[in-house]
Assembly symmetry: C2
Homo-oligomer: 499 residues x 2
């Protein structure tokens, strides 16, 4: 086959996969938002059919032939096509090296484990979940070895969510965070005074909150022609494609600040997808490059911008307009309230400062588990020990302890670190951005366009062309450096708590 | 291959097609309801990919081999499998006999014609649309001949929307309707007195209308675990599968009765799908059997039940609760107002009595067009002539005349008669149902369950196993008979208008 014909067909087959991705994403999003509850079983069968069809294309003889043909002409490929080949090959190898029977058994196991986890969490019964977790860990070890038996298992797992990440890099990062944050949290505790947050829990009608969401999305420069907001138990972002991104939030009548920051967070994810490079449309590169870089965006907007003194001051008049009980509130009161930092039990409710400590607990446990240093049976005890050590809290039960997250039951080991890394990436990006943009002057005026443009030009437009480390190097001019993050946290919280 | 293995694979391949049908229906429904406007182009590409994949399965070598294998064992097949074979083969033949190039050209043409129709309607410019219509008519003639050149073209077209329907049957039906309805409409006109409907156009907040919709769906026994309501420009029903049906309505602040009857109408469609036979799940038989039988259900609930004296009396207290301006209204006033019959220009706004006259105009035009008795260029003049003849109205422009409906630009010739047939089927079903159920006593109490059960047992549970004529024979014990419909209309409107 001629190379041009190979490339034509290569682009065409990616376009087909892009369509399946859209349909599969829509089925999932619809199931979480609009679909009637009773359609779940049939939806599962439809998802199975489409996932299977997409898998067959990704691992079929034609795809293999195309990959080999392109590899044979590696030197002649343009940068984009070369990167597409790299991504497709990696997806292919990740799955195709696993014997089919093992992969099917694993899929059945994790499906079941999800239900068992749900019940075990509800009943505070870790023992019921443990046998599943043991099997999942064994599968993950075995899969990692199929993929690359020259590297430690946990490195292979980390790499799946954050390309290029190793335990060595993560260790150094988390050590830096621990050294700065643990004493900071202790100092705040010793100080003993917390800002008042009671006023945030007055009842605010959902209709009012919806109004606030629309206003926030507009401030965030999210284009309503390409992004709509839904309502779900847990907020999320789901991209059908570059032209169609869905975000969701959850309205609590007595916690309207929660939804406001969810909308900002998910809008950050959406902006990354909506501003991706047009040239990647219809290819495997048409999406954010990694979990960590994605979280860097959502957390940048939510915490660095959204919870800044400047932006909360900008926010206040609108909050007061929508919610009259805020009339007497000062900007400083609001700023301190939305930044209240306090050790707690539940990761997804944690504040900006203590959040990474929750991640460190999970990271250390995962690493030890895959190194064989601890067993599944020991997890609840290790969990309690580490929560006491890093957060200073006593875990009263496994429901609010080792069973709180769904990730492990789904086989998502190596995922957690990307949440924390995202925050650190964001602080480093802020440092670079400040050289070009008067970031907090923009935040003070609620004019975020220059910030979004900087991020679009330096990050979003590359979609998945660059790997995470390349994204950092490209927009910051240096490799990943955690000191920006710990400096940012130290400055912000020392100021708020007068340390 | 063993027959049992053939049948196993036959069921499996239908299940795959059922999944594609779900995904395709969801993409369309999502596009009309939730999706951001700017996602249309990408959605079109995704729909193209999935439609193509489904088409390739339906017309592929394996499907052909399975059909041949089953045909060779026709005598051994159970009733359901035999009917599945019949339906799959018909779908196959309808498309597969058309040369691929011709079909592709036709698809491109109708896509373009849809846009041209839209503009032509807007600008009252039939001449712009005419060349497209001429080409579409030529294609439809040619396709009908590929499929079956032994029958008149228009019979082949009618049969596509209502299996078994011929122009001979339709002629006899429409002649009966004309003979009864044209003089009835004239008598009402001569009488000169119309019920007051002004009160229905007071402003009613959309929030209140949403509340009414939920209440109506409950009265209709629509299970919220399997059916949800959305909002669109034009109301519709879309079934993902038996477990998941979506209906929509449109809320006009100054016409809340319009949405109420839309919800009843679409709920009728939904009940048909929701109560289909479980044994047909995942097969080509898992849906309503035809357009006409589907409309029989929506119109039965909307007009025969919904606009009955008994049901409107039941409705009134709830309307008064939701909408205080109705407090002084009597049940009889409401009944007469929702049944106001008056010739008009626009089909989709027509009342129960004059609706079929709108259809007769279209039917006579289509028949003459495909018989070669009139040309496309003559359509606007013929349209005006027939509207004057049957409805007594002067058509002021083509926007409100021959250009009002989208059907012809989409190639949907032969579709219109099924709307009117549905009403007539419904009246015949009512006659049979009354032998088992005290229909209007149920309507008076708002207890529709016995009515839904009768329809489920006699119609819904057969899904597409029975053809339309078999449905009528099965539930009524006699062939289709239009006299029930004209008797029903004569009695109802003679009473309302004291004729």
């Amino acid at each position: 086959m001629q190379l041009t014909e190979t490339i034509r067909r290569w682009k065409e087959i990616q376009r087909t996969l892009y369509s399946y991705r859209h349909a599969i994403a829509l089925l999932g999003t619809d199931g979480d938002t609009v679909a009637p509850r009773g359609g779940a079983a049939e939806r599962g069968l439809t998802l199975g059919t489409l996932t299977n069809a997409s898998y067959n294309i990704q691992t079929g003889a034609e795809m293999l032939a195309l990959m080999d043909e392109l590899s044979a002409h590696a030197a002649e490929l343009d940068r984009q096509t070369a990167r597409e080949l790299e991504v497709v090959r990696e997806n292919y190898e990740r799955v195709n090296r696993i014997p089919e029977k093992e992969y099917t058994d694993y899929t059945i196991l994790t499906n079941e484990a999800g239900d068992v986890w749900h019940d075990a969490k509800h009943d505070n019964d870790f023992a019921r979940f443990a046998p599943y977790l043991e099997k999942i860990v064994a599968y993950k070890k075995s899969f990692a070895a199929y993929y690359d038996d020259s590297r430690p298992v946990y490195d292979v797992l980390l790499d799946e969510y954050e390309t290029g990440l190793t335990a060595a890099v993560a260790d150094s990062y988390f050590d830096t965070v621990k050294a700065a944050v643990v004493p900071l949290v202790q100092a705040i505790k010793d100080k003993g005074a917390q800002p008042d947050t009671e006023f945030m829990h007055a009842e605010c009608p959902v209709e009012k909150q919806r109004e606030l969401s629309a206003w926030l999305m507009k401030v965030m420069t999210v284009d309503p022609r390409h992004c709509v907001l839904g309502e779900t138990e847990h907020p999320f972002t789901s991209e059908m494609n570059k032209d169609d991104v869905r975000i969701t939030t959850h309205y609590y009548p007595r916690d309207f600040i929660s939804s406001a920051f969810s909308v900002i967070h998910e809008s950050g994810h959406a902006l990354y997808e909506l501003n991706g490079g047009d040239e990647f449309r219809g290819t495997v590169l048409a999406c954010g490059t990694s979990m960590g870089i994605h979280e860097s965006q959502s957390r940048f907007y939510e915490n660095i911008i959204g919870r800044s003194r400047e932006f909360t001051a900008f926010l206040l008049p609108e909050l007061q307009r929508i919610f009259p009980p805020f009339a007497a509130l000062s900007a400083e009161q609001l700023y301190r309230a939305v930044n209240r930092a306090e050790p707690s039990l539940i990761r997804i409710e944690a504040d900006e400062l203590t959040y990474s400590l929750h991640i460190i607990v999970r990271y250390e446990i995962e690493k030890a588990l895959f190194a064989g240093d601890i067993t599944v049976a020991e997890l609840p005890a290790v969990w309690r020990e580490l929560y006491k050590k890093y957060l200073g809290v006593d875990v009263p039960d496994d429901t609010r302890g080792v069973l709180q997250d769904s990730h492990w039951g789904n086989g998502q080991f190596g995922y957690f670190p990307s949440y924390s890394l995202g925050s650190a990436y964001g602080a480093q990006m802020l440092n670079s951005m400040k050289k070009d943009v008067d970031v907090f002057a923009c935040a003070a005026k609620g004019e975020l366009a220059p910030i979004v443009k900087w991020l679009s030009d330096h990050i979003y437009c590359y979609s998945k062309l660059l790997k995470p480390a390349e994204v950092i190097m490209n927009c910051c001019g240096e490799p990943f450096e955690p000191k920006y993050y710990v400096d940012y946290l130290s400055n912000k919280f020392s100021d708020i708590y007068n340390l």
